[in-house]
């Protein structure tokens, strides 16, 4: 009998709020209200009791509109925002015998090492993921240098290899980012994210704002990378078309809550929650 593909991530009761909270918060915030901010105490409930599992090689889509909490959730998994409650259980896919680790309880050093080593992240805006004052090569090299690579020749070889994988011309390794187009900068971010051979790739609205043909190319690249590396991915998008192309499973968020989760085709063809039905019917 086959077992399921190994779990990589198991998120339990993950929550984040900005503000003290009060007894009336639950009454006035949530998916049935129009905001995640409590009108009495001003607390923003950015993410409330999120639960989901991610298996190796899976792409999980997170869809929602602005204010849904999807980016907060992603940044908690990126260990950049500390959750108020909950656990982020991580199972190392390269080591079957390893115990699950709660990433939320790691100290700052361990978080930073883990983030550099095991995670890769790509942002919508390149200036969030890249340093515009360094060369393209320098940006791609950053994770390697943090992982104590100390031979410039080897580093550059690896950078060129990654640039080729992401369809960037390797001879432009020493060029400055401002000479690259938007689509190319997304590919630089992807090359940087892949440099440490991460076990989880986080993608935050990576194609939003790009020209259509450029968007298509970046999406195809991500799909190819997922296929070739069997990469486990968390894909945040407000665009159902993007989710449909890449994610086999999807969760839908509104006002900080996960309102529905399931197979992507089921979410799109048989949405249960009123908000999901609204989203699906709003697709262009």
């Amino acid at each position: 009998m086959t077992h399921l593909a190994t779990k990589v991530l198991h998120v339990e009761h993950l929550s984040k709020q900005y503000g003290p909270g009060c007894a009336r918060c639950a009454e006035y915030t949530g998916p049935h209200h129009h905001s995640s901010q409590c009108p009495i105490c001003g607390t923003v409930h950015a993410c409330v009791d999120a639960n989901f599992t991610l298996h190796q090689g899976e792409v999980l889509g997170i869809v929602g509109e602005s204010g849904s909490g999807k980016s907060t959730l992603l940044q908690m998994i990126n260990l950049a925002i500390a959750p108020d409650h909950g656990h982020i259980w991580y199972h190392e896919p390269r080591d079957d015998a390893a115990q699950a680790v709660d990433l939320a309880t790691m100290n700052a050093f361990a978080k930073r090492t883990f983030r550099n080593d095991r995670l890769g992240i790509v942002y919508q805006r390149p200036e969030l993921g890249l340093n515009m004052r360094f060369t393209v090569g320098g940006n791609v090299a950053e994770k390697l240098l943090l992982a104590n690579w100390r031979h410039v020749g080897n580093i550059r070889e690896r950078i060129r290899d990654l640039m080729q994988q992401t369809e960037l011309p390797p001879e432009r390794i020493d060029d400055e980012p401002h000479t690259f187009s938007g689509g190319m900068l997304q590919r630089v971010q992807i090359a940087k994210a892949l440099s440490s051979s991460p076990s989880l790739l986080l993608l935050d609205e990576v194609t939003s704002g790009l020209d259509l043909s450029v968007q298509a190319r970046v999406l195809d690249l991500i799909r190819r990378i997922q296929w070739e590396h069997r990469m486990t991915m968390l894909l945040v998008s407000h665009d159902l078309g993007v989710i449909k192309q890449l994610a086999r499973r999807t969760i839908v968020m509104k006002n900080g809550h996960i309102v529905e989760s399931g197979l992507t085709d089921q979410i799109l063809e048989d949405p249960q929650h009123p908000y999901t039905q609204l989203l699906v019917s709003s697709a262009l």
Partner: protein, 296 residues
Amino acid sequence: MTQTSPSQLYNFAFIDEDSKREVRRMTLKAVAIPGHQIPFASRDLPIARGWGTGGLQITMAIIQPEDTLKVIDQGDDESVNAVNLRRLLQRTAGVATTTDTDAASIVQTRHRIPEEAMRADQILVLQVPMVDPLRWVEPNLERATVMHGEADYGRMWVYMYESVVKAGDLRIASQYPVMVAGRYLMDTTPIPRWDVPKLHMAETLFLFGAGREKRIYAVPPHTSVVPLEFADYRFKVEYTPGQQCRRCGATDTFLTSHFVVQPDAPNGGHWVSSCSDSSYCTKRVLAQTVATEEIS
């Protein structure tokens, strides 16, 4: 110059006792955490900020009547700044002063470490203009502080990589970044690369004071100080084969050049190299003169 009685118009060594206490306490902290920048309440002094007030405050806080003080600027005891600082301490502390590194118990310096290896009973106080080595890669002080706290120096390594890529080699001339005790990234102040190896596993205590930036840091004796380098692009000191001091003939010291004016020469004169450490150079010249006299 020998010990004298200090002027009665001033507190011993100029600054008040509370200020000395502040500086001493912060200096102790700095020694306890090698390479880590300790903020301190920097006082106003009769010299402008940027002229060595940080180093001066450390010297003023630690100096005792029985100390012997040497002050150098760019290796030279006789520059305007060195002379003025020495005079101030002479007047307010009455301490003996010297130009001989060997004879000094405290050496205050700007831009150089003396050629003669310093001992465990000596202290070297360095004047620091700009403190944070991360300022090249993170101009925001708050973020840089967090980076130091988390030993998050990846961006500095990217900076090093970029300098290799842009210049073909590590082209950092001074303020070379080093890792102290394997934990803190430190700016070595504008000492030339030549002097950086002197910090590693030394016998003497190095204290760094920045008056304008209001920071003190330290490298205690027998502390590892390792310059950032790559396996295929290593840290190198300045050296030109065949270099020689015009005065004493030394081929193994850090040299400075000055222009000698000759109205009838094609360029109006010529450049002459000589030891930056003027007192060491003079010692060598004197020793050679004595040796020559002995022979003849």
